[in-house]
Amino acid sequence: MIYDVSPTAIVVFLLFVGFTLGLSFWLGRKAKSSEGYFAAHGQIPWFVNGVAFAGDYLSAASFLGICGMIAFYGYDGFLYSVGFLAGWIVALFVVAEPMKKLGKYTFADALDAKFNSKGIKLAAGISTLAVSIFYLIPQMVGAGVLIQPLLGFPHWVGVLMVGAVVITIVVTAGMVSTTYVQFLKGGLLVVFSAILTILILNRGLETKSNFKELGPVAWDALETAFADKEIEILPNDGIWKDKLDSDQRDYVVSRNPNDPPGKITVWKQVKDANNLVRLLECQLLETRAGKRYINGLPEGTGEGQAQLEPVGSLSKLPDDKTETGPLGAFGFIKTIQNSEVKLWRDDKKFPSLKNGDKATVYYPKLVPGSQVLRPGEHPKFAGIRRDGIFDKLNFLSLMLALFCGTASLPHILIRYYTVKDAASARKSTIVGIASIGFFYVLTLFLGLGAMTSGAMDVSSSNMAAPLLAKSISPLLFAIISAIAFTTVLGTVSGLILASSGAVTHDLAVSFLGLELDDQAQVRLAKIASVVVGVIAIALGILFKGLNVGYLVGWAFSVAASANLPALVMLLFWKKTTKQGIIAAVIVGMVSSLAWILLSQDTFKSVYGIADAQGVVPFSQPGIVTIPLGFLTLVVVSLMTGKSKS
């Protein structure tokens, strides 16, 4: 059984959230002015700010998404780790100091420092909102995903809880409490990931699986070969007739006379070089009239019921060993490189036992470790192994967006205003890079550890990291889940704060010209936080089925396309005009959003059109829309150069 609600988990979890909220209230007493609310008076020590960078940046996508992707597909998830970290180089070397010198509260401040233009404030304010909300969706979905197994609540309750807690944090104290929540969570995340990694290496690797493997036998002998093991291969008739009736078929269905009635076992058929057949045990999930059935039995823990069993194992170790004992960091990787891994894939085209309902078969796939550790195994990255130019462009585009995106994320940029000067901004970025880089190195071990932990949920890659912890100890599971939850809290608080800053400062005060005193600004910001929070809750519930890591790459694309050209050109090109900046922000934002909405990935996973082609040739917009932003800025600036006041 994969999940069970444990009292320890709930106690640890409530302690975490309670402590976080208490801290927030306590710190909140100090922040009354808008300076304090948006920028923590510029008084956060650089080291705290640096770790808070990590807390802000290492979102649910990093922790849950990357670990899950590595656990299910191998190396490819690590490409995100590398790209996410590389982006900090842009932030540190190009953006950090000028941002600090030019701005005061928001990203728009810095863009507008030379021009004092309402248009720039409006465009930058809207792009901040767009990026933040885009980024909020996966965080909220992640929260729901976590709460479900941890506390046993449905998805929407989890989303609602995160929303409520975050709104409380942001409204009580703004940037001060947000910073300390992020500091706490960033520190805990890195420390506990390190502990988890040490435990994984100490545990070593072993071959152990709850799933049976039969054969090899000749195809003709299949029907009778396993009779002594009380496995009766079912004939190919009824609803399987067309699907399963030749020796080319993928699956074989069997039953054991001793099993409860209705129970069946699905086997994946694998042929070896000698044309002998091996059968690998699968798991079948059906939805009949709204109820879930596992291997033909209703889902549940009672008599005559069944559940999806946890997966994740090595099928072969080098030198035919069955376990390795403790391993070093490189030894761990080397051993996997020379092993064979049982990865799990799903096939949604399996014919259901009852007509017209959905069935998914989860089947094992034996993959050599050398393939698990190479790039290009995940369907999204498989393009690099094909010759098509668009496939390769798609990959380049993603890596470009990751590189350029970090330095364009509004909730990261505002953290430059919470320290006192440019030197502190620089130092805190270095601390940020150290903690984030260390964490990303660990993601590879966490992911591979999860892959071989025997505790994975075949139906949800997002839960890989917490379930890995569970395979070691239930207490660790509770702690890691609570940290993952505070991870969501920290990032969501930062995003909501960035959005409310944009609404208050850029849109209301600067663009609409409302004359608000300090108190009124803070009040408006708090109202804006509540509104953005409610929107985030709604979107989190709406996009329930989406993979947590999915939207983040796109949020990076939109941020990089809309914000980076304006930011960089403002710093390095003297002929930049305000019209150029406005045009670049708008063109970058609209073109990247439009590209995403028209892409094949969106058609498939958001609109649910399985065989759609998409209007644009590949899914990741960055490689087109980032240069487009630069081009727009240059062209418009040259056209309007003389009218500059």
């Binding site: 590389a86 900090w88 180089i89 070397f93 080397k334 490189q337 690099i384 270095i430 890079i433």
Partner: protein, 86 residues
Amino acid sequence: MHFNMKLGLTLFAIYLLFYCGFVFINTFSPQTMEQTPIEGVNVAILYGFALIVSAFALALIYGVFCRPEEEVNSTSDPVATTKGDV
């Protein structure tokens, strides 16, 4: 151009080349990434780790060599000094 900015851009260019190497090998020669030159660990992982470690190394170099004097005359944030109410 200020010293800090020049230093930052130089280090940025170095890292950019290193990162481009990683991305282009992945894109156009993925089989290179499968080679295992050191300790049975493949290029993909070694290069990835190297990118992370070198980001930190370059950041440290930047931190050590940046000149502090520029900040004195360029802190142009008058509001922060008048409004702070801690």
